[in-house]
Symmetry: C2
Amino acid sequence: MSSAGLPDLPQLKARLFDRKEEFTDSLQDLLPPRLQARLKNIASELEFPRGECDLFCEGEDAHFVYLVETGTIRISRLSPAERRQVLAFVFSGGIFGIPDEGRYVNSAQAIGPARLYRFAWASFSGLMQEEPDMKSALLARIAFDFRQAQRRIAVLSQQNACQKLASFLLDLRQYPEFRDKRKGHVRLSLSRSDLGDYLGVTPETLARVLARMEALGVLRRKECHLVQIRDMEILQQIARGPRRALPQSESSRTPFARPN
Amino acid sequence: MSSAGLPDLPQLKARLFDRKEEFTDSLQDLLPPRLQARLKNIASELEFPRGECDLFCEGEDAHFVYLVETGTIRISRLSPAERRQVLAFVFSGGIFGIPDEGRYVNSAQAIGPARLYRFAWASFSGLMQEEPDMKSALLARIAFDFRQAQRRIAVLSQQNACQKLASFLLDLRQYPEFRDKRKGHVRLSLSRSDLGDYLGVTPETLARVLARMEALGVLRRKECHLVQIRDMEILQQIARGPRRALPQSESSRTPFARPN
DNA sequence: CGAGCGTTTGAGATAGCTCAAGCCGGGTGG
DNA sequence: CCACCCGGCTTGAGCTATCTCAAACGCTCG
């Protein structure tokens, strides 16, 4: 779009609480066909079956970068207290595995079936040196990921469990792979603990929050990995509302911040 | 360093809980002298007095990018519930104000005296198009910021108030501008609410946590913006420890997770 | 010297954690 | 085909860290 200057950087599409409907920022889409081809040239294609598959672990020497074609990749890190933090889920078009001083700083697993492109880091960075547009595309993508991370910072540190879940569900709707055929249905192809570790909440709390939302009529659990959003309006109100309602007064604004 | 491929990307130096002693990732340091000069050519220099100064607000049209020479910049965002989240503090060598679709997504204020370089976005991105190394440096810096954000995600969602404060203090030691002349002294040039909004904790809790740490002999409050670290060892243990100690058992591991 | 802001301390309320038990569904073996 | 078992999910009960509101304190600047 932006005619002058960088024709690539300003493509990013994430705002804090105002999500957009379309939401693609896949690396490929940022590249002209010629570069897509060059990229494919140095790629090897990987296919993963159902079930979890480790791709790499934090601390390992990093030889490859990955690009997601289909599926969901879990990027996580282990705290010294043995607790896992899920930093992000990477979907179609996302890139991951960029080294820091030659090593991976995070771990990555495919959860469920996935198709990936894998690039040797040497060829990948060589290609970037030859092709400035390649570098720009990566820059745009990382800037996008950075903004996503900033949104997560805000969500994690300000929102209560309900709000976090609501935010997550609203985020998911951006990704076509999660929308079920029937309108309003969202497929959670994640275990509760994956989701809990992502939202900074225990699986038990997650279950309770789901139950409460169901009681409120906001959603319905069809199977434990399929939920039907029944009231998008309220879901959004929940995500936007205050963490805690005013203790002794009307609960008019959000019917959720004070659940009892 | 890295001879083959990208001579710039792998320079990043942040690991999750294992901080390094030196910690510079300033944009300038990533540039050869020639480019530093070109950059300075398109810069205008800004000087701010003591006290808070707004640089820009989220939502505004973005015309400038900023580079910090000295001082501390607070990058923040307002949630729909009127609550401020401090996303980051930017120190010397940091860059901020990169637009998303032509707009700022965050707000920025100088807290305390500061010197900045300001670039018109058009010239800045033009320079990046001409000079691939410029683009690489920006890429490296944003990748660095991204990793910082990931660390913050882990800290915010796993750590309790004590741990967050401990982590913050340990982080600060990386930045020379915060080390007081006397060894072990750290100058908090931030208000308690700034720090609280950064750590996702109320100012009251922050005060209590400081008091507890003082009682434990980990640190001492000299003035309310100057603390002396008295036991670095324990401070690190606190930051690494579990969020909550095992309810009924020895408190041998960390003397802090269960404070009473 | 007083006003006013930022910090600290106190008291009570509460959301989310931990531990523990029940539940449900899918896969396996008889 | 059924019974069983196992892992993941849910529900329950109690506990605690942190929040909220409110008051005391103490600098700093008129």
